[in-house]
């Protein structure tokens, strides 16, 4: 076994996992506030990527302008989505709300490539493509920077949940009726969560867009994000960091070790196996809160 290759794959896997974790963090953010598993998070990442590309290429803005413009636009897009679609579902069974988010995912995946054109778009955030070697060890600059930015964003989200506004959102998550009764504007808190989640999705969309280009396939990030959110615990932001590292490592090592043995690409199987095993063995994930129904 080539230990240097294992080391390369491991380091790369950790950082790729952190990039996936950023998409998962958006799912957790919404779940923590409104109790909904948002299946449109992959499409929001794709939408963020397209928004960034549109501001960068169509509007011709420099990066210091297009990036904030995309983040602000997507914050309002997320909040608007909650206001126009999700809020109308108040009182409906939770499965219908989740189906609605799935419908939004499918709709965005159809509309955006149709509107912007279906070819892959270039999104340049200035990461050099020249190889980076530390001794004989190869490090992928794009995933290194992407993983670091993702980790920083998730840490900011954790800090945010300890701020006054974050505590309000946690209160909304714990008991919406009680929050209403003490004067918390529950709808506003949920809209804020959707807006912030869209911002996180945009950062993820930009990082992945810079790595692979912007096209519909960004929406496939949902599968990895779901695996990470389920493994880490749907209501745990620190959980997504740990789970992201586990999923990224497992995928990367599977590609290097299992693929040559079975003669096929096993990368996506890893995510599916993690989802299934977690749900069977520990449904609330590694760090999620176990919900106990009192009867």
């Amino acid at each position: 076994m080539d230990m240097l290759l294992i080391a390369e794959l491991s380091i790369n896997g950790v950082f790729v996992g952190l990039m996936y974790a950023l998409v998962a963090a958006g799912i957790v953010l919404i779940y923590k506030t409104s109790g909904i598993a948002n299946l449109a998070q992959g499409a929001l990442a794709m939408m963020g990527g397209y928004a960034a590309w549109a501001f960068a290429t169509l509007a011709g803005l420099p990066i210091w302008l297009w990036l904030p413009a995309a983040l602000v636009a997507m914050f309002f897009a997320g909040a608007l989505l909650e206001r126009l679609a999700l809020r109308r579902m108040v009182g409906q069974p939770i499965i219908m709300v989740i189906m609605l988010t799935l419908g939004i995912e499918i709709m965005l995946r159809g509309i955006l490539p149709g509107f912007f054109g279906s070819s892959v778009k270039r999104l340049d955030i200035g990461i050099p493509t020249t190889p980076l070697f530390v001794g004989e060890l190869f490090l992928n600059r794009a995933t290194l920077i992407g993983g670091a930015v993702s980790l920083a964003t998730i840490l900011l989200a954790i800090l945010f949940f300890n701020s006054r506004l974050g505590i309000i959102m946690r209160a909304v998550s714990d008991d919406q009726t009680a929050s209403w009764s003490v004067g918390i504007k529950v709808e506003r808190a949920i809209a804020l969560a959707w807006g912030l989640s869209a911002v996180m999705a945009t950062i993820a969309g930009v990082l992945w867009g810079a790595t692979q280009g912007v096209d519909w396939s960004l929406s496939l990030l949902l599968i990895k994000a779901l695996a990470i959110a389920i493994l880490g615990g749907l209501d745990s932001l620190p959980g997504v960091v740990i789970a992201g590292i586990i999923v990224g490592l497992a995928e990367s090592l599977a590609t290097g070790i299992v693929d040559p043995i079975v003669g096929g690409g096993t990368r996506d199987v890893v995510a599916s196996v993690i989802i299934v095993l977690t749900l069977i063995l520990r449904p609330h994930g590694l760090f999620g809160r176990e919900h106990i129904e009192r009867v």
Binding site: L5, P113, V120, T129
Partner: protein, 420 residues
């Protein structure tokens, strides 16, 4: 409400007449040759379809503007099947009822599903760069026409080019990075045979579709220290492969791919950084060929272009022109053979299978389609990206056709026996 017998019979008669209407409508349109082009504009083949279709439509407009062929004008029925089999079959049946003599679905799963229908209905199905590679055997697939080098041929061409450059491939190491789908795995049998006969080591690296994350693949390729690398995918898989190869510091002039690499891919990757990478070119790319110049002058210049002007002359646009020109040449030959028609699938088939030495005014290699060989000789050339455009690295050539045809006959015989 009750229905009287007379009302029922009258209604049934009206429905029966109405069901015949599309056929009568089609046959009433004198001097029209209908080509059906249900293609995937929205799902999997999005990376190519828009430009390919634009090239096809622009070429047909050029011919129509010049008066058509033998007084017949072309109608291109373009629709979106989204790589979805029920939608594609519906489009095919609609085309059949409207009198189409040719269908071009540009999708491997769709083409494979339509093979039995095309053979039974005697409607010519074009499967360029898609569909079954064994359809090159015209004796088994008379109405399925690839009209282009299949993936086995493309792999054989690249290996021969490596041999031409290195002199001998014995002891060399060739990495094959491919999407883990039937399309991606298709060249493997040919490559394995050539590895055995020419003495090179073949290392295959499959990646999960669609290939948007290959970061764990390319470090393995780099560490294998290959002499040559072939990457085999489409759309985002190709741009990611190329980007990761650059990030891993692999030499671009040892990197090559199939026909599925375009100028748009180079823009995504970074045109200058990708300089040196090679692809199989089934036709000339760029705007220099005479036909492209004619389209620019007579179609685009007249405001009748089917899409953005900046796409005219891209690789995939020219693929569209290439295939449309072969279809039209088939019509011309069919008229030579039977000037009075009638214009049917069988009539066109006789023309398509008798195309001889056609080069589309220098756009494509001299192509001869016979009742046995639907591939057209398996000629192409190697093009190299110079930072701005693909330039020819070789002249038109064919290679390793003995190995390729062995494989073609093996699978076509299996189809003949089992229908699979």
């Amino acid at each position: 409400m009750t229905i009287k017998r007379r009302t029922f019979l009258a209604g049934s008669a009206a429905a029966a007449i109405a069901s015949q209407f599309p056929i009568r409508l089609a046959s009433a349109q004198d001097n029209v040759i209908r080509f059906s082009m249900p293609q995937d504009f929205t799902r999997v083949y999005t990376f190519v379809t828009a430009e390919y279709s634009q090239g096809q439509r622009d070429y047909l407009t050029l011919i129509n503007e010049r008066g058509g062929i033998n007084g017949h004008r072309f109608v291109a029925d373009v629709s979106d099947h989204g790589n979805d089999l029920p939608r594609a079959i519906e489009a095919y049946e609609r085309a059949k009822s409207e009198g189409a003599v040719l269908v071009d679905p540009l999708s491997t799963p769709v083409a494979r599903a339509l093979v039995p229908r095309a053979l039974e209905d005697k409607i010519n199905m074009i499967t360029a760069f898609s569909g079954r590679s064994d359809a090159a055997d015209g004796s088994v697939f008379p109405y399925v026409l690839p009209l282009s080098p299949n993936y086995w041929t493309q792999a054989g061409l690249l290996i021969d080019y490596f041999r031409q450059v290195d002199g001998d491939l014995s002891g060399k190491k060739i990495c094959f990075v491919h999407i883990d789908t039937p399309f991606g795995k298709e060249p493997l049998p040919i490559l394995e045979k050539l590895a055995e006969s020419q003495g090179f080591e073949l290392l295959a690296f499959p990646y999960t579709p669609p290939g948007n994350d290959q970061s764990a693949i390319w470090p393995q390729v780099r560490r294998a220290r290959p002499d040559w690398i072939m990457f085999w995918g489409a759309g985002v898989g190709q741009t990611v492969a190329l980007t990761e190869a650059i990030r891993n510091g692999l030499p671009m002039d040892r990197l090559s791919s199939s026909v599925w690499l375009s100028e748009s891919d180079m823009e995504v990757v970074g045109a200058a950084q990708a300089a040196g990478v090679m692809k199989v070119e089934p036709c000339v790319s760029g705007r220099e060929p005479r036909l492209i110049q004619d389209i620019l002058a007579e179609v685009v210049g007249a405001g009748k272009g089917a899409g953005p002007e900046d796409k005219v002359g891209t690789s995939y646009y020219n693929y569209g022109v290439m295939l449309a020109s072969l279809m039209v040449e088939g019509v011309r030959v069919a008229f030579e053979k039977a000037p009075d028609g009638p214009v049917t699938g069988e009539w066109l088939n006789a023309g398509l299978r008798a195309i001889t030495g056609f080069d589309a005014e220098g756009l494509i290699p001299p192509t001869t389609i016979t009742p046995e060989d639907h591939q057209g000789g398996g000629q192409a050339r190697i093009g190299r990206w110079d930072g701005e455009k693909f330039v020819a690295e070789t002249d038109w050539f064919s290679a390793n056709q003995d190995v390729v045809w062995e494989e073609i006959r093996k699978y076509s015989a299996e189809f003949k026996e089992t229908g699979q």
